[in-house]
């Protein structure tokens, strides 16, 4: 099915009857079935991939099999309902958040129009409150007295195949961005509900390949792309050539798997592989060379992103454990993390809890250049590259020519996870203000803790659901359009690798004149390196202002 053109989709969003445009569905939501058709679902996990995960985690990924989403036979195990209900019980006992979020919602509706997917689709079940009700209704039926006695009047319904289909549809139309939870008076976090629902779906083998395969790759090869060590190294080294072409410098500070380095640097692996992430990677390398950082990159722990976090907490833990394991093996003092969104949700809120026992000899991170002690990472020993860079700039350790970014009018997209799962809001802005002359923030309802998701996080960054992604990304694109119209913004910067992939598609679709870059790319572009040639282009080989022609 061809994806609609932006002008068609734009009219559809604003005019088609939906809850967003004021039309009320004639049927109650429990009576509206989920219907899968090409373009509205992600492809299921390949049997071989599910087998791979099942070997590590027996039972957690259900029965490996080939199955069709559009079919009415998902080849579920006979006792799939029992598995789901027991799965709910187990998770209620493990997560207080799950219990509270199931019990406390008053359906005040404050979250309703906060979800980018609801804003873009107008589909009632994309209101966070209804998304949670999809699961809550089953919870009530099985675990509450009111639900058992009053049934549907109390908002309860039994677990059926129809419900399972709804779960698969709508828990994969949530990017766990947590925007709704900022506005909820009880802090109900749909991300948490979605995580539980996805864990449950995995138990009965209902899954998507776009998450499971990268997760399998991450486990085996170290990165989600499945790049083997030599390829990873080659890819990274190609970028050294690009750096040489742009700056005239052959950097020799990049090493791999080197024992005894002071710092282990972990990036989202897309940064060595695809535009525009590779420019961000070039930025990192220039920065570290500029300050003489003693660092190394691991091919074994070559993925910062954690695709396990889109499946269940067990796989998240397993993938994340590599960071500490590798840091210990290489004997580094601390870990520096690149620009990645959900990687930082995991690193900031889960890593030390899940895998803290794997770190034994790591030390409190101290910047070897400025002497700054990163007290905020005292326990986890991992610092974000934006925190690190902001500190360098503050101490005047970087030689910067801001004018090299004068051809960029920049705005900043707060990625969901660093914003609402970490609170890193001002560091990237401080960097941007110091490396470029034209920086404009988007309107306040669309940035910082109110930031909108790119529309394709948590493993939804797949081509088969392009229309959905463009709808979900509309609120973000719309805010960019606002600053584009007002200030001529032509570059959307971010600190997330998924963003660098998804925003690119989003901008091409809604705002074709706006590019996408990582913050570190702009840093690398502005750095005055010792012994460099007079730069005529930026890191993308676009001519610098004043050098054209």
């Amino acid at each position: 099915m061809a994806d609609p053109k932006p002008d068609v989709l734009g009219v559809s969003v604003a005019r088609d009857p939906s809850l967003m445009t004021g039309a009320v569905p004639s049927k109650e939501w429990m009576d509206v079935p989920a219907v899968f058709k090409p373009g509205n679902y992600c492809y299921p996990g390949k049997k071989s991939i599910v087998e791979y995960h099942s070997k590590n985690f027996p039972g957690l990924f259900g029965e490996p099999r080939e199955w069709e989403v559009e079919s009415d036979d998902w080849k579920l195990p006979d006792n799939w309902k029992e598995i789901i209900i027991n799965g709910i019980k187990e998770r209620l006992d493990k997560f207080r958040s799950f219990k509270i979020f199931m019990d406390c919602c008053v359906r005040c509706g404050a979250c309703a129009d906060k979800c980018h997917f609801f804003l873009g689709t107008g589909d009632p079940k994309n209101m966070p409150v209804l998304r949670a009700e999809l699961l809550r209704s089953v919870y009530r039926n099985e675990f509450t007295k009111a639900g058992k006695i009053l049934g549907r009047i109390a908002g309860a319904r039994p677990m059926t195949f129809g419900v399972l289909k709804e779960w698969f549809m709508y828990y994969y139309q949530c990017t766990e961005c947590r925007r709704c939870s900022v506005f909820c008076p009880y802090g109900i976090d749909t991300a948490e509900v979605t995580m539980m629902a996805r864990e449950l779906l995995h138990l009965v083998g209902v899954n998507t390949n776009w998450i499971l395969e990268p997760a399998a790759n991450s486990n085996r090869t170290g990165n989600h792309l499945g790049l083997q060590p030599h390829t990873f190294k080659d890819n990274a080294e190609f970028l050294l050539d690009d750096i040489e072409e742009a700056t005239g410098l052959k950097l020799n500070s990049l090493t791999f798997n080197r024992k005894g380095a002071e710092v282990l640097f972990i990036i989202p692996s897309a940064d060595v592989f695809a535009e525009p992430g590779i420019f961000t990677f070039m930025g990192y390398l220039l920065l570290f060379d500029h300050i003489g950082l003693d660092y190394t990159i691991s091919t074994y722990a070559s993925e910062g992103g954690n695709f396990g976090s889109f499946t269940n907490n067990e796989l998240m833990k397993k993938l994340n454990g590599k960071m500490y394991a590798e840091a210990e093996r290489l004997g580094v003092k601390w870990i520096l993390g690149g620009e990645c969104g959900h990687m930082w949700r995991v690193v900031h809120q889960y890593m030390d809890t899940m895998n803290g026992e794997l770190q034994r000899s790591l030390e409190m991170p101290v910047s070897p250049i400025t002497g700054t002690r990163f007290e905020n990472a005292a326990a986890s020993k991992m610092v974000h590259v934006s925190e690190f860079t902001a500190d360098l700039i503050k101490h005047g350790k970087l030689k910067i020519d801001k004018s090299r970014n004068d051809h960029r009018v920049v705005t900043f997209h707060d990625s969901c996870n660093p914003a609402r799962g970490m609170g890193m809001l001002d560091e990237p802005r401080y960097i941007l203000e110091n490396v470029c002359n034209n920086f404009y923030d988007m309107p306040e309802n669309c940035i910082r803790e109110n930031t909108f998701c790119c529309g394709s996080g948590t493993g939804l960054n797949t081509g088969e659901i392009m229309e959905l992604r463009m709808r979900g990304g509309l609120p973000r694109a719309n805010a960019v359009k606002y600053v584009e119209d007002r200030h001529g913004v032509n570059m959307l910067s971010c600190v997330c690798a998924i963003d660098r992939a998804t925003l690119l598609a989003l901008m091409e679709y809604w705002n074709p004149n706006v590019g996408v870059c990582g913050v570190s790319e702009l840093v690398g572009n502005a750095l005055i390196m010792d012994g460099e040639k007079e730069r005529e282009t930026d890191l993308r080989f676009d001519p610098l202002p004043g050098t054209e022609g």
Binding site: P25, I100, R107, I188, R220, H230, R258, E449
Partner: protein, 349 residues
């Protein structure tokens, strides 16, 4: 159905108590037995629910950070929306519980041609929610004048303040009017706004109607179909001292009022009204954002889950690594034979 049923249910409760209180022995049933049962049911089941929640651990520290984190000393932390210390969390929780800070942030989004999304401030829910809860609290505390003898001075002062306008006789309480106004708003909002109407359940309307019923019977008793307050207090004091007596002619309206309150108490622990306790326990609000500073312990953390080992990784890729000049722990065997299979097989392509 979702609106009518709960309305009829509340009406039925009114009828039951209206008829019941007039039957022989009905006054003791509706004035003593049921209120006692309801009150203790409320306490017991409320605590049971809290314990049910508390039995599950908080495995991960997952605050929703709604402001700048504590990082570098020169970057200003948002201590109320992104606290990193216990004091900060207390501050955040105070603002949440007493001032509904999250609701205060509410916005309303519309989609216009373009497409263009427009965000407007929307503070009505916050305002009326706050008014409702505070007037309910004031009314609750005011009722202590009927359950205490002598009446503590703070209750008397609260009453004086609540009747500050000195309108009518007996003096009109602002809280009565505000409560009903706020309830009306909360009800109309659910009915009129399409999104709200679509998500509302019978269990959203029922407490609204029930509390409305309580408010209306209370107001009727005070201002219109009056009951003998001294007899009411004698009963209330009897209840509070476990020597309940019903003397004098109290009036059936009182028993309806009391029965509806009893119903609310019984209904409360089994319903969404438990957000009263839940708001204190929400892990996205009541935890400090200090995950990287202080280790949070997960009691069920499964230490048997280990990362795919480096040794296994190197075993699988050693040859490539050596050829690419990557350092390895174990050199290639001299025969350059295939290394033994990794502990985990690679997925088939």
């Amino acid at each position: 159905m979702r609106i009518l049923y709960p309305f009829l249910a509340v009406l039925a409760l009114v009828l039951i108590s209206f008829v019941g209180a007039k039957m022989p022995g009905g006054q003791s049933l509706f004035g003593v037995v049921i209120p006692y049962l309801a009150f203790f049911a409320f306490i017991i089941f409320f605590i049971k629910k809290i314990i049910y929640w508390a039995k599950s651990p908080v495995p991960f520290r997952i605050p929703t950070t709604s402001g700048q984190e504590k990082s570098l000393p020169w970057i200003k932390q948002n201590k109320t929306d992104c606290p990193s210390s216990t004091g900060g969390v207390i501050g955040r929780m105070f603002l949440e519980v007493f001032l509904f800070r999250s609701l205060f942030k509410n916005t309303k989004t519309d989609v216009e041609d373009g497409p263009k999304l427009v965000y407007g401030s929307s503070k009505y829910l916050w305002l009326f929610g706050l008014l409702f809860h505070y007037s309910f609290l004031v009314i609750f505390l005011r009722h202590w004048r009927l359950f205490t003898n002598p009446v503590p001075s703070f209750v008397t002062k609260l009453e004086l303040a609540d009747g500050l306008l000195q309108v009518g006789v007996p003096v009109l309480y602002q809280s009565d009017i505000i409560l009903l106004l706020a309830l009306t708003f909360l009800f109309l909002r659910r009915v009129i706004r399409p999104q709200l109407r679509y998500i509302s359940l019978a269990s959203d309307y029922f407490p609204l109607f029930l509390i409305m019923g309580i408010g209306i019977t209370g107001i009727l008793m005070r201002y219109f179909i009056r009951v003998d307050i001294v007899s009411v207090k004698e009963l209330a004091m009897g209840l509070a001292t476990f020597k309940p007596v019903i003397k004098g002619d109290i009036g059936v309206l009182f028993f309806i009022h009391l029965f509806l309150v009893s119903c609310l108490m019984v209904y409360f622990p089994f319903s969404k009204l438990m957000h009263m306790g839940g708001v204190f326990l929400s892990p996205t609000r009541n935890l400090a954002n200090n995950n990287r500073m202080v280790r949070h312990i997960n009691p069920w953390n499964d230490t048997s889950i280990k990362p795919h080992s480096y040794a296994g990784y190197e075993d699988e890729f050693r040859e490539f690594m050596v050829n690419a000049g990557l350092p390895v722990e174990k050199e290639l065997p001299p025969a350059a034979e295939e290394p033994p299979a990794a502990e985990e097989d690679k997925p088939a392509e």
